[in-house]
């Protein structure tokens, strides 16, 4: 299986390539430099693996939530790379990718992801599963005090748990563990893209579109 994946939903610019069983990736802290860095990094990974774009089984990108401009950079890149060769596209939730990462490193099976959405709001999603983390509720943008979480032993992931720690304090009894540091990484897109390929959930290039969650912008 050969999959190219990239994430530009945060300050970080992250690219990964699955070739056989091996994932090669590069992540750089690069505020406002995503557009400058993406193609050179992709070129490097493909070149080092001796792969051409047409050999890919899929292109994965994080479709949001996250920085609006970053999401569009990833989506238009996915569209442009995929359209001429009809390469299937896996549009993957940023929140799900973070849950997947935590699942792989900490073996957590119930994960609540909260990313800072600014304007006193968070992007919120909960995931559960073994192997592949799947959503247990629709993703939302909401105020921290509007969060509803059922059950216990959740692993909390994402920057918002720190930024809004006071407002989210009421959830403390339901949490087993908190990780506020982790950022989305392109390598965590790969298993989710593989899952989408298996489940026939990939889309064509025109449907490589961002999901902003916040739709009221003016």
């Amino acid at each position: 299986m050969k999959i190219l994946a990239f994430d530009t939903s945060t300050q970080q610019c992250s690219v990964a390539l699955l070739c056989g069983n091996e994932i090669k990736d590069i992540s750089l802290d690069a505020p406002n430099q995503h557009a400058e860095l993406l193609l050179p990094l992709i070129h490097r990974l493909l070149h080092e693996a001796g792969l051409s774009l047409t050999q890919l089984n899929a292109i994965g990108f994080s479709r949001g939530p996250g920085s609006f401009t970053g999401l569009r950079i990833a989506a238009s890149l996915a569209q442009g790379l995929a359209c001429a060769h009809d390469i299937p596209v896996a549009a993957i939730s940023t929140l799900q990718m973070m849950a997947q990462a935590t699942h792989l490193t900490q073996h957590a099976e119930r994960i609540a992801v909260a990313m800072d959405a600014r304007m006193q709001q968070i992007y919120w999603g909960t995931f559960a599963g073994t192997g592949i983390m799947l959503p247990t509720c629709p993703e939302q943008v909401l105020s921290p005090n509007e969060v509803i979480l059922a059950g216990k032993d959740w692993t909390a992931v994402g920057t918002a748990w720190q930024v809004y720690s006071d407002s989210l304090l009421f959830l403390q009894p339901q949490l087993a563990h908190i990780d506020t540091k982790s950022l989305p990484q392109a390598r965590n897109l790969i298993p989710l893209a593989q899952y989408q390929i298996e489940q026939k959930l990939t889309v064509s290039a025109e449907n490589a579109l961002p999901i902003y969650l916040r739709d009221k912008v003016c």
Binding site: L39, G80, A84
Partner: protein, 335 residues
């Protein structure tokens, strides 16, 4: 050589195909006007959101209209600036990724150079050197064009652009947004002799413009008037006269200074009938020639971007590296 052109600098998504042998083979345009109209101006975030939904469907349509496959495209040109950064990025990233996937050269084009070269898409294209008047929603500039790619700025608006003045006055008179064309249409119902507005800077020897004072004068005249429909039309008439007169006087001055009898007009206000009539008469008197784009290529489009890009791509010019860059602000001036 067959070039795909992509334009996303503001509130139109456009894609076109230009070919060395066949000329313009297709052009597609989606205007977001209805999205922004309710806000009385372009909302950048909404513009970007619309671009990304439309860019690929429009590209497919443009290729289909040109009876072309992806592999028939020899190069890709896209607007790299000036414009709204987020909107530019959608077109630029898409174009560069497509070029990468097809292994074809790409080139970022200056939006205003696109406007200036739009008359080259017509059956009798201009031959440099010439003077160019660029009158759009964001710019009012006079250039001396010694050759394609060589633009010397002779003068420009020190404040509002002519199109902007049209739009602001139209808004004041309740004609909606963008009301330039509606204002021009209303002016046809207006009568001379009721209002006069200043022709700013016309007695100065330089080739600069200033249109921001005009809207204040119009507002005062409107407030003092009886505010009937006829008053409105008379004001529109006098306003249009003042703007077109100013453009005409400065353009004539530029032609004299440069000893040129060839004029190119480009940009949205270039669609204005009175401007065209007056400039044509002026150039006829000088036994010169004036060149306009067809009406639909006065405003933003991708045909002009495909053409401008083609001009350089066919000479082997292309983006230097794989880094994608857009420039929200970018002067067009290089000798």
């Amino acid at each position: 050589m067959r070039v795909l052109g992509i334009e996303t600098s503001c509130d139109e998504t456009a894609v076109a195909v230009y070919d060395s042998q066949h000329g313009l083979m297709s052009h597609q345009l989606y205007t977001q006007l209805p999205v922004h109209q309710q806000y009385g101006g372009v909302v950048p975030e909404l513009a970007s959101r619309d671009h990304i939904r439309k860019i690929l469907p429009l590209t497919r349509q443009a290729l289909k209209q040109a009876h072309s496959a992806w592999s028939d495209i020899d190069g890709i040109a896209y607007t790299a600036g000036p414009g709204l950064a987020g909107a530019l990025l959608v077109g630029a990233v898409f174009a560069r990724a497509l070029g990468f996937s097809l292994n074809r050269p790409t080139l970022g084009v200056h939006h205003l150079e696109g406007h200036l070269l739009a008359p080259f898409l017509e059956s009798t294209p201009p031959v440099p050197p010439f003077v160019a008047l660029l009158v759009s929603g964001g710019h009012t500039q006079l250039f001396y064009v010694s050759a394609i790619g060589h633009y010397r700025l002779l003068g420009e608006s020190l404040d509002d652009a002519a199109g902007e003045a049209f739009d602001k006055v139209a808004k004041m008179l309740g004609l909606g947004y963008p009301g330039g064309a509606a204002l021009a249409a209303l002016a046809e119902q207006g009568k001379p002799g009721f209002f006069t507005f200043p022709r700013p800077l016309i007695h100065r020897p330089d080739l600069n413009f200033s249109f921001s004072g005009l809207k204040t004068a119009v507002l005062q005249a409107w407030k003092k008037s009886g505010q009937t429909d006829q008053d409105k039309a008379n004001i529109a008439y006098a306003f249009q006269e003042a703007v077109i007169d100013t453009l005409l006087i400065k353009t004539e001055k530029a032609l004299m200074q440069m000893h040129s009898t060839r004029l190119v007009v480009a940009g949205g206000v270039g669609a204005n009938t009175l401007l065209r009539t007056r400039l044509s008469a002026c150039l006829e008197k000088m036994q010169g020639q004036v060149f306009y784009p067809r009406l639909e290529f006065c405003t933003d489009n991708a045909a002009m971007i495909a053409y401008a890009g083609w001009h350089y791509l066919k000479e082997g010019k292309q983006d230097a590296d794989l880094a994608i860059r857009v420039k929200a602000r970018w002067e067009l001036q290089n000798g």
